[in-house]
């Protein structure tokens, strides 16, 4: 037995109890706005694998970033990172909170925004 959930159609019918003349396309647009807003908070947890490239310091996290299976990450906020050890196990690695490394590698990094 599946859990109860609402489709976009059901949400529109609930809204139209109060706003019978609201256009369907406008409600759909507001629904997508709501999903973007809800996505800012801890609502959808995910995990993804990314391959490490030799001598590459920065890895893309933008809206178009992809994992090692070429799926879009759709990432908003990272809360943990694991690194594979020499046994093939994933081990949690620490986060540098200020991100202020002494040496900044820019020469090999394609994901850092640079002026054209």
């Amino acid at each position: 037995m599946s859990v109860h959930s609402l489709t976009a159609k059901k949400i529109i019918s609930r809204v139209r109890q109060v706003f019978p003349d609201a256009p369907e396309s406008y409600i759909m647009s507001l629904l997508n706005d709501a999903l973007v807003e809800a996505g800012l908070y801890s609502t959808k947890g995910m995990s993804a694998k990314v391959s490490v490239v030799a001598d590459q310091m920065f890895y893309d996290l933008s809206d178009s970033a992809k994992d090692s299976s070429n799926n879009v990450l759709e990432l908003n906020k990272i809360h943990r990172v694991d690194f594979m050890d020499d046994d093939g196990d994933y081990i949690k690695i620490p986060r540098l909170l200020d991100g202020e490394t002494l040496m900044f590698d820019i020469t090999s990094e394609s994901v850092i925004e640079q002026p054209d």
Partner: protein, 141 residues
């Protein structure tokens, strides 16, 4: 390609730089630990699936009327509140007098309900593990 780092927790660290994940390591493939002032550099060897990221993701867009929102069903009613919040605000802006005030108040009510379920509680309300939380103090001995 496999990793050659035995203790990543000591030799690798991550940080966020704008829209990028920074990854630094003081491990050298020659087998030595770098100790100079330029010790922390990029990982010097490739590792297939070397990183496992745990993150909060953005829900997928709704494209058709039959779609179910890409978010846990406990948040579906909050989506209704968000839509009503916007529509009542539209009404408040397009009407005058008492009905405008009422529409504004109803918009605020739905805004509070949306924020309470999504912003204030987020994952805590639907956390699958549940139960009492305990804090284990650090042992200073």
């Amino acid at each position: 390609m496999a990793s050659s780092i035995s203790y990543p927790e000591d030799k690798v660290a991550w940080f966020i730089k704008d829209s990028s994940l920074g990854l630094v390591s003081n491990y050298s493939s020659t087998g030595t630990t770098r100790t100079s002032r330029k010790a922390w550099q990029a990982v010097d060897h490739a590792v297939t699936d070397g990183l496992l990221l745990h993150y909060w993701a953005e829900p997928k867009k709704i494209t058709s009327i039959g779609d179910t929102p890409d978010i846990d069903n406990t948040f579906h009613l909050a989506l209704v509140d968000y839509v009503k919040m916007c529509l009542y605000m539209d009404r408040a802006g397009t009407t005058q007098g008492e009905s405008s005030g009422i529409a504004f108040q109803l918009s605020e009510m739905h805004k509070r309900k949306f924020q309470e379920s999504v912003r204030r509680f987020g994952n805590r309300r639907r956390e699958k593990t549940g139960g009492v939380r305990a804090i284990l103090p650090y042992n200073f001995q």
